[in-house]
Symmetry: D2
Subunit: 126 residues, 4 copies
């Protein structure tokens, strides 16, 4: 059962159910095939890129209040679509993340990976 407070979302499972409800009451489920959702997610990830494209690394660490607010919205959009996609594919987000971090720890053991400039790989790459 959903929490009484309409605005409060204190865990990913509540978020998942809220998003389900949001789509259900608008009869939008038919648009939410995994194929469409991964497209929508990529669109939002790129909207997250956009505010940063002409900034220097330094500037990216000192966003104005306006830039920060916009970025916060885009981050939310990515999480919303990710949660919706995971819901439809029966994937538990935290469980998947835990498994991936464990895999990455084996792939990039501290002794080998410490401080190295990584070319085409990164700390969460497959």
């Amino acid at each position: 059962m959903l929490p009484m407070s309409p605005h409060e979302i204190d865990n990913l499972d509540t978020l998942r159910l809220r998003i389900r409800e949001f789509a259900r009451v608008r009869a939008w489920e038919r648009y939410h095939t995994p194929k469409n959702l991964v497209m929508a997610l990529s669109v939002e990830a790129a909207e997250l890129l956009e505010p940063f494209q002409w900034l220097t690394a330094e500037q990216s660490q000192h966003l104005s209040a306006e830039q920060h607010a916009a970025v916060r919205h885009e981050i939310a959009d990515v999480l919303i679509y990710l949660t919706r996609l995971a819901d439809l594919l029966n994937i538990d987000l935290l469980d998947a993340a835990a498994d991936k971090l464990a895999l990455n720890a084996r792939k990039y053991p501290v002794e080998k990976a410490h401080g190295n400039a990584l070319k085409y790989s990164d700390f969460s790459d497959d």
Copy 2:
């Protein structure tokens, strides 16, 4: 303080701290500027697109066990980078998602949005 069980991550805050620690012990923080992180996130979002690019909407709803496992890894990668980015920008993910859903509810009231084929907009678009 981090949970005793090395593998268990039962909420986003624990995930956030685990990722911080992962990057810290490998001295990878210098690569994690917001600018670099939004790029890494877009790379992972596109790795999530790839398994679906030649599938029909129907096929996208019936992934093989192998395809599903690969998609689960990419979903985890997106969440990991999103959590890291939000951490560095002091953004609470669930809080941001709650605000965005509330904004979307005002933008797409049920009476207006019900069942409509949305062309350039969607249920979480700005």
Copy 3:
């Protein structure tokens, strides 16, 4: 020397020089590092995804005049950034494409690739 007609661009080299001039007269070169340009290119590629995200494969083949015009603009944006990026990296676009097609022909010989449902690969994949 640039063509006399301000609007006519009949080959990629003219396009390349026009874009150079466009950036030069606005003193925008300092924003055009390869890193920034690949970000801008990804942003535009995602703006090309957006009109299609809720469409069926069928609908995507019958765009309205309005949708088609918008997609045409986004396609142009991708080409503009790609040309600019290639210019800065001294890469000849047609030459690179020719080499890649030759590589793909060896990777996907007709006998092997004919009609096959390709899962994670495609006709131009590395």
Copy 4:
């Protein structure tokens, strides 16, 4: 009629026909709906992001021979999909680019745009 030399591609129209032929002989046309092609294009654009994600702006201007070769392949992939997409939508690439540059020139007149740090816009943005 296609040029006699199998490798030489000296203009976009030849490239367009070569790609058509490449897909035709492998019976891959059914995968090439505009929806699928924009996805494939975004996947390639992100593969172009990846080599740069942990580099500084400075490093991005001094790629090793190996990095440069990889980037050249990804640039080719983007052009190949863009050309294929434009072909299916009956869009002339250079024509579209010329129109977009003209539009951008009106949107960013030199007097107004000169040297300005652009926040959410750029020289080819809609």
